[in-house]
């Protein structure tokens, strides 16, 4: 306990008083990294419900154009645009990032590194508060006069910059403001993740003893912090163009609309890896535990992560092949984009190879982790079509793109998240989730997921373009067979959304009534499983010391098939 006591002053007085703090201080003003992680996760999950409902509304409009959508009503073109714009923005900035990066980052980094809290707990608290403010600004923006911003999550000017073009003067300003606030929140969080993982590791834990989940969250934070600066500058210029009459993006007065695209995608492409990497890290933890296997070539995995991260700064203009950039530039970006498949493919191969020689248990978290691999591969290979500049002339801004990035983002933001939640649930809440309901939820989500997005690949190949509220306006696309594909996709979405209720029920019921979890129910090696379930404020009864790497499963000459990092040899 002595280590714990000496660490206390860094936390501020609030938490280390003997009296139990009241519920407001405990759950809303806390500096405890676990509570902040829950704040991020629950806010992210609530936002996911909002974005899921938006998807339901606009998919219904596409499948049954002009008919009132149950639980919503008629969808006008400007409402449709606001729905697709905010669905995309929310899923990336208010679901994937808070849950995967901030939620799991906050929860796992101190526990897996064996320390009692983040290095800067109050910055951490401020980070969440700014994030919550950004979420509120975004949600309010949907209800201001003129309606929510409808210029797509990429917000290309002049549409986003000029009120007379977008007709949502307040909505678009609040959207940019919300995004900018969200970035500030994650900059604060990112500093914490990096500093904590670098400076606060348990004695004996060298860089290559750190679990992959932590490695990947730290690399993701570095990518985010290095890429977001240009976009914040871009967002400020966009705010000025919207409200102060500047002309950074106005060609008539010397500006350039394509400038925004460069700033946006310089951030926007690394952003894909910012959310991918934490999910890959979560999957690595789960696969090793349930295959009872050491990670195959652990160090090479880290090198592929770093290579992917570095390369991701040089691929952004593949989003702009046909945007009017100098066509010779596309050749450079085709090379970098196709080449990034090398480290990513290598990483996937190493994950698959980890299964070799394992003893695989198909628990609910493992099913999600494996589904991540199988589905993400589809997203990976279809990216090559878009990176190949010649083919992208056709595919750009068609549903092929929509299908492609949902096969990357869905495994990341939904499958990866649920894998992590079901895996660490016993640690987080001290109780076990129900396996049967977990598996019902798994199959009820994964099967419809493929029926949502495979039709979109086909529609994209027919040239169906994005962000259209009614395809009957285009004679070739109004074809009834294509409409049947759209209806298939929408019905699958509704089925998938309905199957989330068993999960919500299982989650809430198990939190209060599930069977009690022991410290280490999965027989895992990493440090978080040596703390109580759930860990108290301060995490460890005795601060751990680390003797080995995180994946020592089935080590020869031992009776048990696992060897916790903190167990003396």
């Amino acid at each position: 306990m002595s280590d714990h006591a000496t660490a206390a002053p860094a936390h501020g007085a609030v938490h280390h008083g003997h009296a139990e703090p009241n519920w407001f201080l405990k759950y809303f003003w806390s500096t405890d990294h676990k509570i902040i992680a829950f704040q991020y996760m629950f806010t992210g999950m609530a936002m996911a419900l909002v974005a899921g409902f938006m998807a339901y509304v606009f998919r219904m409009q596409i499948a049954f154009p002009g008919q009132a959508v149950p639980l919503f009503g008629f969808v006008s073109p400007n409402v449709y645009n606001a729905l697709i714009t905010n669905h995309g923005s929310i899923m990336v900035f208010w679901v994937a990032m808070p849950v995967l990066l901030a939620g799991f980052g906050n929860y796992l980094i101190p526990l897996m590194c064996g320390c009692d809290d983040m290095v800067f707990p109050r910055i951490n608290r401020l980070s969440y508060q700014l994030f919550l403010l950004s979420a509120i600004v975004l949600l309010v923006s949907l209800f201001v006069p003129g309606g929510g911003f409808g210029g797509a999550w990429t917000a290309y000017p002049p549409l986003s910059a000029v009120p007379k073009y977008n007709l949502t003067p307040m909505g678009s300003t609040m959207w940019v403001l919300a995004v900018a606030l969200e970035f500030v929140a994650f900059l604060l969080g990112g500093i914490n993740f990096i500093v904590t993982a670098m400076n606060a590791r348990a004695p004996g834990m060298r860089a290559f003893d750190v679990p992959l989940a932590v490695w990947m969250i730290v690399v993701a934070s570095l990518l985010f912090m290095a890429s977001v600066g240009p976009l914040i500058a871009g967002a400020v210029m966009l705010l000025f163009d919207q409200n102060l009459g500047t002309a950074f993006y106005n060609p008539a007065r010397g500006g350039d609309p394509v400038l925004w695209q460069h700033l946006f995608w310089f951030f926007g492409h690394p952003e894909v890896y910012v959310v991918l990497l934490p999910a890959m890290g979560i999957v690595a933890e789960i696969m090793t535990v349930f295959a009872r296997k050491k990670m195959f070539a652990y160090k090479t995995v880290i090198y592929t992560v770093i290579a992917t991260g570095a390369l991701s700064f040089f691929v952004w203009a593949h989003h702009q092949f046909v945007a009017g950039i100098d066509p010779r530039m596309s050749n450079v970006f085709t090379v970098t984009t196709v080449i990034i498949s090398i480290p990513v493919a290598e990483m996937c191969f190493l994950y698959v190879a980890t299964l070799y020689g394992g003893s695989i248990r198909f628990t609910t978290p493992m099913l999600w982790a494996l589904a991540f691999m199988a589905e993400f591969l589809i997203g990976g290979v279809t990216g090559i079509y878009l990176g190949a500049s010649g083919a992208d002339i056709f595919f750009h801004d068609t549903y092929f793109v929509v299908a492609h990035f949902h096969y990357t983002f869905y495994p990341i933001a939904i499958i990866g998240t649920i894998a992590g939640v079901t895996f660490w649930f016993p640690k987080m809440f001290g109780r076990m989730m129900n396996e049967t309901w977990g598996k019902i939820h798994f199959w009820g989500t994964i099967i419809p997921f493929n029926f949502i997005f495979i039709p979109m690949f086909i529609l994209g190949m027919y040239g169906e373009h994005r962000r259209i509220y009614d395809y009957t306006n285009f004679p070739d696309l109004a074809n009834p067979q294509l409409q049947a594909l759209r209806i298939t996709s929408t019905v699958a979405l509704v089925v998938m959304l309905l199957f989330q209720f068993p999960f919500l029920f299982n989650f809430i019921y198990s939190m209060f009534k599930g069977p009690k979890a022991e410290k280490n129910p999965w027989k895992s090696n990493t440090l978080e499983w040596t703390a109580d379930s759930p860990p108290p404020h301060g995490n460890f009864p005795e601060m751990p010391t680390v003797y080995r790497g995180p994946y020592e499963y089935a080590t020869p000459g031992r009776d048990t098939d696992y060897w916790p990092q903190n167990e003396k040899a």
Partner: protein, 241 residues
Amino acid sequence: MLLSLPSASTFSGDIDGLVVLVTLLTGGWFIATQVMFFWLLWRFRAGASPKSQYITGKEPHLKRWINIPHTLILICDVVIIVAAVRVWVKVKQTLPPPDDTVRVVGQQWTWTFQHSGADGTLDTADDVWTSDTLHVAQGKTYHFLLESKDVLHSFFVPVFRLKQDAIPGRTITGWFQATKTGTYDILCAEICGIGHGIMGGRIIIDTPEQHASWVQQHSTMADAAAASTDTTAAASAGASN
């Protein structure tokens, strides 16, 4: 080729060919990886493999299962890059000499097309202006001059496999040559405001003879309009065709 979408330009076959090539190369890897993945799951399920093995990933006989595919993927990547760049250079970086020129103007939420008329030269009195309908002749090389009056738009002709964004303040020149007659969709592929969902047009590809007679008929009307007033007014009057 792309499923049953007609192929109607000289380069649509090149783009389809590239798509087939990418499908074969990445599809092969995709199937191989998935088969391996599911086979491993089956082979090493706890029931069949009650105790796991201690493998670090440094064992040479196992490492080659990563290293060889790694090298092969690099080779596939180079093939894809070369093929992609070849198609790109043909479609976007080369401008074959034109037989005719057409101006394409995007604005919220319509396409306006300025055809060169009987004299084959743009910005003359006999130009034919249309909105939402583009008339071209099969077998002729066209340059298009793409402009926007307000926000970004994207000129997308799926049967040509052709797409190019329009940017206000700039004129972007591209080309196409139709190989098939017929009437097909023109789409706006870049979100451009609340009317994005109605912004479309049709491309009417005629035989050169049919096209010439269409031009003749409409040029005469444009000339007549020009005779009564100046060319600028003719242009704006013709825009409502």
